[in-house]
């Protein structure tokens, strides 16, 4: 299996990551090796074998979706990198350049 730079760039976009030109070649090669290692599983016969995605000994436990009161709004906002007037501040959705 050959992994191309374009595929890596596509997966990077899905992952909300970006790589510089110098990084991307090394990353493509490493990811290719890792994906090839993962591809070894192709040789295992899994015809009719169910998937295991969790190893829990109890049924899904449903509870009421009930909001709880949190004492301090300021405390909850403590880790927000940029805020204004008690709100989380984010940049514009469209480019700043286009907006100005």
């Amino acid at each position: 299996m050959k992994i191309t730079k374009d595929e890596i760039n596509h997966v990077a976009a899905l992952s909300r990551l970006e790589f510089g030109e110098d990084e991307i070649d090394k990353f493509t090669e490493q990811m290719g090796d890792i994906i090839n290692m993962a591809h070894q599983l192709a040789e295992v016969d899994t015809e009719g074998v169910p998937e295991t995605v969790q190893v829990v000994d109890r049924e899904t436990d449903f509870r009421e979706d009930k909001p709880e009161h949190w004492e301090s709004r300021a405390e909850l906002m403590k880790n927000v990198p940029e805020k204004a007037d008690g709100f989380i501040k984010v940049p514009v959705i469209i480019d700043k350049d286009d907006n100005e």
Partner: protein, 479 residues
């Protein structure tokens, strides 16, 4: 205060007898950490003003006033928690993980947070934004990972016990590399609420300590149901110390040939010696096969990375953690904050996970791995029909040199060959010191059926009583 020759019982007695106060113990612990850590860098955060809880009840609470180290991916109210990542460089939790609340109720003392591979992704603690941790047995070697800081803190006598987390061997491999005991309980034995998520179907919090009994004491406190984590079993939690001091006569012990074939030379000999000790004591030794062992590494890396790529979506630079400067729109904040905030290994895993889950690759990778996982689980079920425990080496080799494997991800991933099956199958597993190989510690692994930590403790304690490895002092700590 150095804990090389202490344990929870000895400290509890000193505190009860008034030989030392809990305040002084906290101070002395911090002082020793500051000094010792110049060599080993086991901590990311040390609380210089660490104080014990109030109204300590030494008779009721074994852990009262005793400093316990906490891996830095377990969140602690008011104490910075980074998961060794730049993206959480300033993250100050506003609540406690369930295990922390339980330790607080048991009146343990908190002195700080230990180093690790970023987001617990790694086997050497070199993938930390805060620098590598050094192995107390040889400062040029890695302590293993990802709970390398917790392991080195215990092995060097900075604390008597530590919490770690284990997604693919992150408690057992560093325990083996540092000559200490470490247990990953059954998936669902300990609440993961407040554990920074990596692979949610694999992650489990566990304990590391020099002495087997100390881990049993701490596990007694942190195990059990939690309304915040619906994957925790409602099964009754036994007193884990009740499995200590027993003999192993008639115990059915399985030895997978794939595990023994993975080691040679001195490593093979030192592991075989522990098996012989069990046999001489009347245990029934059965050679067995775990035929899918050669597929556990790819299976694990697909499953764990897929879960990680989903879990780590939350780091977007908006609500907490690192936010990139000079961004022109919202998408740019996400991409730049993540690209600047995550380290290389974390990016590799997110990428592998996104790839394995993406359209066109899902069936061939994620689904396939989930099916092979079933086969791996079945291998274990079959063995446990006729055996009580499975034993063998924890790692194929003792600790490697710092810088030796960090640039070769596949070599690094293969470190986990013998430990990841227990996570895929959700069974309890521990590593107890077996002896020295080329002057470095080697670990003996013990696995049992789901929720049968009892037999794991029973065998580990028997091995500990027999080889008395705890009497040795780490060679890197001698001046």
């Amino acid at each position: 205060m150095n804990y090389l020759n202490e344990n929870i019982d000895s400290l509890n007695k000193k505190l009860q007898d008034g030989e030392i106060t809990a305040e002084d113990l906290a101070k002395a612990t911090v002082k020793n950490i500051k000094e010792t850590d110049k060599k080993i860098n086991a901590w990311i955060t040390v609380d210089e003003d660490a104080k014990p809880a109030e109204d300590l009840d030494f008779a009721k609470n074994k852990l009262a006033g005793i400093p316990i180290a906490i891996k830095d991916n377990i969140i602690t109210n008011g104490m910075k928690t980074t998961a060794a990542s730049h993206i959480l460089y300033n993250y100050m939790p506003v609540y406690d993980a369930t295990v922390i609340s339980k330790l607080k109720k048991a009146q343990a003392t908190f002195v700080g947070k230990t180093n690790m591979d970023e987001f617990a992704m790694g086997s050497s603690t070199e993938h930390s934004y805060y620098g590598a941790t050094h192995n107390p047995w040889n400062l040029d070697k890695v302590p293993g990972g990802s709970s390398g800081g917790s392991a080195a803190a215990v092995a060097s006598g900075e604390v008597v016990a530590a919490l770690g987390s284990d997604t693919g061997g992150s408690i057992r491999q560093p325990a083996a590399f540092n000559g200490i005991f470490g247990i990953k309980p059954t998936y669902g034995r300990v609440s993961r609420w407040g554990l920074i998520a990596f692979g949610s179907s694999l992650d489990q919090i566990g304990v590391m300590s020099k002495r087997v009994k100390d881990s049993a004491e701490v596990l007694n406190v942190i195990a059990g149901p939690d309304e915040h984590d619906a994957t925790v079993s409602e099964k009754e939690v036994p007193d884990f110390t009740s499995f200590l001091g027993q003999d192993v006569k008639g115990l059915r012990v399985a030895v997978p040939k794939e595990y023994m074939d993975a080691v040679d030379g001195e490593m093979h000999d030192v592991i075989q010696k522990q098996i012989d000790v069990l046999k001489d004591a009347g245990a029934i030794i059965n050679e067995v096969s775990l035929p899918h062992t050669k597929y556990v590494v790819p299976t694990y890396y697909i499953v764990a990375s897929s879960e990680a790529s989903s879990n780590l979506q939350r780091y977007d630079g908006i609500r907490y953690g690192y936010r990139a400067k000079d961004t022109k729109n919202l998408l740019d904040v996400y991409v730049k904050s993540r690209s600047e905030g995550f380290g290389e290994e974390v990016k590799r895993r997110i990428m592998l996970g996104s790839f394995a889950l993406s359209a066109g690759a899902y069936d061939e990778f994620f689904k396939k791995a989930a099916q092979v996982r079933t086969l791996i689980c079945r291998d274990f079920e079959k063995i446990f029909e006729e055996n009580d425990v499975i034993v063998g080496p924890t790692t194929t080799e003792p600790a490697f040199g710092i810088g030796e494997e960090v640039s070769d991800p596949i070599k690094m991933y293969n470190n986990d060959l013998l430990t990841i099956s227990a996570n895929l199958a959700g069974i309890p597993a521990a590593s107890v010191p077996a002896g020295l190989v080329d002057g470095m510690p080697a670990g003996f692994q013990i696995m049992a059926k789901r929720f049968d930590e009892g037999n794991v403790f029973k065998v580990a304690d028997f091995i500990e009583r027999n080889n008395k490895f705890y009497e040795k002092t780490p060679t890197g700590m001698e001046d």
